[in-house]
Structures are given as C-alpha cells and as structure tokens.
Symmetry: C2
Subunit: 223 residues, 2 copies
C-alpha cells in the first residue's frame, strides 16, 4: 500500500499514542486507506527521513509528513474533496482552543495517572529511554509519580467536566459529526483508557458513549 | 430608546455580571444600540415580566428575553443580516465546548477568588441575599471561602493556561475577530478583573491583551 503510518506500539502490540490516534481518525475521516507500521520509541533510525524523531510519521506516496497537526493540515490540503477536518473559519480557530485545552489540561491530567503504566507496557528496549525522558520531564521518578495517582485521578475527574456536560446536549464536539476537535480529544482519552490500570471513567459515563460514537462513525473497533 | 438591558450593578455602579457582559458584547457585535438599566439582586419585581428572577433581561421593542444564551439565539435569529454570533456548523457546536468549559472550569475558579469581594461591593440591601445564596451554593461561609484565596488563585492560574497558549498564536478564540465564544470567556474574565482585590493576571499577560482587543473591536472603553 502506498500510504503508511508509523504508529507507536507497546510490547503487546497495543497502539496507544494520542497523537497517532488523531491521525488514524483523520485518515478515516478523509476516507483514506493506510497501513500502520508498529514503531518503538527507540527506533529513531526508521523515521530519520522525516527529519525528526517522533511519531506520527505519515508516508503518503512520495511525501513524508510528521507532527499530528502538520499531518492534518497536509491531509486537508491534499484531499480537499473529502469531508473537511476543520470546517470554515471560525470553526478552525475554535478547534485550536480545543487543542490547546487538550494539550495544557487533559494530556497532563492523563499522563500523571498512566506514565508508570505506560512504562510497564513498553518493550524492554524502550523502557530505559522512556524512564529517562519522562523522569526528566516530570522532575520526579516514575515511582514517585505513581504514588500520587489518587490525586491525579481527582484532577482528571475535574478536568473532564466540560466534556461530560457537552455530551449531555450534543453528540460530538463538532456537533452532529466528529471532526479534528473530536480526533484530538479522543486521542488523549483513548491513550488513557487503553493504558490505565485504574478505570478512568465509570462504565456509563457520557464520555465513553461519545468514544463509541467516534469509533462507529469511522467503522473502527473498540477492542 | 426601544432596546434596554437590565444590567447587574454594584453599589458604586460597576457592572460586573459575566452573563450581562456576554450580552453587551453580543449587542455590539450585532451593531445594536441599547441602554442599560442598573439592576440590583433584590429587584426581582422589576424583571418579573421576564417570567424569572435573574439578569440579563433584554427588552427589545415588544420582546422580553432572559438568559444570556437564549438572548444570543434571539439576536442571531432576529438580526440575521448583521455579523453572525456563531458562524456555521461546526463552529456553533465548538462554541458550546467553550461555553461548557467556561461554566464548569473558569467560572468556579474565578468565583472562589472573588465571592467575598463581590459581597463587599454590593449595595447594602443586596448583601444579605447574596451572602445567603452564595453560602448555600458553596456550603461554606464567605469568610471561609476567602481564607482559601491563595489556593483559588493557583487553580485560576492553572485553568487559564489554554487561553494563554491560544493567544500566543491567534488573536481571538474565534480567530481573526471575536464571536460568542470570545464574549462568553470575556464575560467571565471581566467579572473577575473588575471585582478581584487581588490581581488575577500580570500586567503583560496575553489574556489582558486579548481583553483589550475585544473591547476595541466594539469601540468599548476599558475603564
């Protein structure tokens, strides 16, 4: 296949990267077929042609594009006849608020809960790299972060309140169908729910219902 | 004038209601002239014809409309030839995320800081009503809430991070010009900055710059 996505993988094959999930949903939104190439944190050489060291990296024919937002912009520009990822202004600008909210509030809330779980799920060769970079980022050991899990769960519960309220009156963040705003927030919550050994949300939570609606919009599996 | 807005007032005439500010910006957005009628919390009788007890209440010719969101919908429907408050879908749906974020995160963060300050600024006849309703809402005395101000300020600082990041790369929440999303968030921050006896934001904060841009878009005064 001419379209390939380098997709971060755990030791057991679980694909958990929030940024890769964004791109998988965006590709589905644009009706584009692709195959994923499982990628480990330490396989920097495999994506060196992208000019940087992180996934998602999309290979689309002769084009190599990295960074989830740049990939979304690329898809929107390259496949303009498919459903828009952003809608017209001001929708595109408003999605940037959702993105900045997700990245400054939701991602930190989730990562505090799951960072030690992620470490345990990685392939052995990825674990030292992950520990070193994350402990530098958090300025604490993984074990110290994990000891704070109850407080982190409280913070997560407070952080997702706007989503719970939103889904009590509309189906998707973008309204009647999902767009890039939904992809961004879904990516974060998929990362959290796939990895966390502590349930993040009660079974009947409106956020889980919305995640199911996102997957079924694109004919994707929950499992 | 045929268009009048009942606008909550402090003892010294300061108009601080976040919901009234939304409507004043929406009226300016629609190029509609209006006069405000200063209104006190205890003047329920003055707005009884609206069928409820809270401001904003807009009297537009023969129409009496209350609730800021219902007023915005009314203005959009009644004045369709003026600039849209919402934009087309999915923008309108995305604004609801901003609204739910503002009301579940930003409003509580601000109200914890300023509720005792608001009480001090009210006309004497409003103070007992305000104390009683707010202490029931918070399940604590105003004095107990005020004692927690340092923690509330920390929570506020964390809550506004998405806005600070957003305004580092775009001018308004809705992009190149403000819309109802900006009006909602501005209302909350105007309420906070007008009333708080502790500065909420440093002088050079990008949020204050954005507040200035919103006011100058509509030719309104900062003072």
């Amino acid at each position: 296949m001419s379209r390939q996505l380098y997709d971060l993988t755990a030791a057991d094959g679980t694909r958990f990267s929030p940024y890769c999930w964004r791109v998988k949903l965006a590709l589905a939104h644009k009706n584009l077929n692709y195959e994923t190439i499982p990628w480990h944190f330490t396989e920097k050489a495999a994506i060196a042609t992208s000019g940087q060291e992180k996934v998602p990296v999309l290979r689309d024919g002769a084009n190599i594009v990295s960074d989830s937002q740049i990939i979304a912009d690329y898809l929107e520009r390259t496949y303009p006849n498919e459903e828009s990822l952003f809608g017209d202004p001001p929708a595109r600008a408003l999605i940037m608020f959702v993105k900045d909210w997700a990245e400054t509030m939701l991602h930190p809330a989730i990562s505090h809960i799951i960072v030690a779980d992620v470490h345990r799920r990685l392939a052995p060769q990825d674990q030292p790299y992950f520990r070193q970079t994350r402990e530098a980022m958090f300025k604490r050991s993984l074990e110290e972060i994990e000891a704070d899990r109850p407080a982190a769960l409280e913070r997560f519960k407070a952080t997702v309140k706007p989503l719970q309220r939103l889904f009590s009156h509309q189906s998707f963040i973008a309204g009647v169908s999902p767009n890039w705003a939904d992809h961004i927030v879904f990516g974060a919550l998929r990362w959290g729910t796939l990895i966390s050994t502590t349930p993040l949300l009660p079974e009947n939570d409106p956020i889980l219902d919305w995640m199911g609606r996102v997957l079924s919009t694109y004919g994707m599996q929950a499992g």
